[in-house]
């Protein structure tokens, strides 16, 4: 029981690093992909957050990004191994096109996450650890404190620039 909790926490940290790295690499904090993402960014800034971080959070809301890719890849690896993860990547790609997202952060994130998660299943992790871990990771960005999360993302974005 304690082992599973520790696995979930470790999976949360791995997923967090993975999706934030991919999203920042694909310049999600730079500009809102749709007008709604910019509106969310403005409201987060008005609530005491940073605009660049808010833009990334708005983009995460408005289109499946690397965090969604990681979650669905974990689900895919759980139900069908590597083919399941790659099927999830295809569905994220279709989801991006449906949501008018011109980028490839979600698809890339899903493909990378598939192999990372499969690798960790070989060393004692379960794919379900990554499903719960990714939900904890997105909670830490979108669900706890928008002001603090957006400032942290803006700081990481400045490093990328």
């Amino acid at each position: 029981m304690l082992g599973e909790i520790l696995h979930i926490l470790a999976a949360a940290i791995i997923s967090w690093i993975l999706f934030v790295t991919v999203d920042i690499f694909f310049k999600l904090p730079e500009t809102g992909g749709v007008s709604g993402a910019s509106a969310i960014a403005r409201d987060i800034q008005a609530g005491g957050g940073a605009l660049a971080g808010g833009t990334m959070m708005g983009n995460i809301v408005c289109s499946p990004d690397a965090s969604a890719g990681t979650l669905l890849a974990a689900c895919g690896v759980y139900v069908a191994g590597i083919p399941g993860g790659l099927a999830a990547a295809l569905m994220v790609f279709i989801g991006n096109r449906i949501c008018h997202d011109p980028g490839y952060a979600g698809t890339t994130g899903a493909v990378i996450a598939t192999f990372v998660i499969y690798g960790f299943t070989l060393v004692g992790f379960a794919a379900t650890d990554f499903v719960a871990g990714m939900v904890i990771a997105i909670l830490s960005i979108q669900g706890l404190s928008h002001a603090h999360a957006s400032r942290l993302l803006a700081r990481l974005w400045r490093v990328r620039q």
Binding site: M1, E4, I5, I8, G32, V34, S35, G36, A37, S38, A39, I40, R42, D43, I44, A46, G47, M57, G58, I60, V61, C62, S63, P64, S67, A68, L71, L72, A74, C75, G76, Y78, V79, A80, G84, A87, A88, M91, V92, I94, G95, I98, C99, H100, A126, T128, D129, V131, A132, M134, V135, I136, I138, L139, Q142, G143, H146
Partner: protein
């Protein structure tokens, strides 16, 4: 099993935060966490290859809804 409880607890927490938050722009990220949790819970509850399709469809659909609400809230239209 613990994974399912964690995901379900986060879903309830995110739903409550989304209800309590009054500002639409700041409400949507909480709803986003809820969508993640529900999609994850779906696959954890139903261990079947097709549940991946169900989760992905649910997730993309709910993201498109959030996109539509946010864009309407912003005044409508693609930039």
């Amino acid at each position: 099993m613990i994974a399912l409880y964690v995901v379900a607890a986060i879903a309830v927490f995110a739903a409550l935060r989304a209800i309590i938050e009054k500002n639409t722009g700041r409400k949507l990220p909480y709803a986003n966490v809820l969508n993640f949790a529900v999609a994850g819970a779906l696959v954890l509850l139903l261990d079947h290859p097709l549940s991946l399709v169900a989760a992905a469809t649910y997730f993309v659909g709910s993201t498109l809804e959030a996109n539509a609400i946010a864009s309407t809230y912003a005044g409508g239209g693609k930039r």
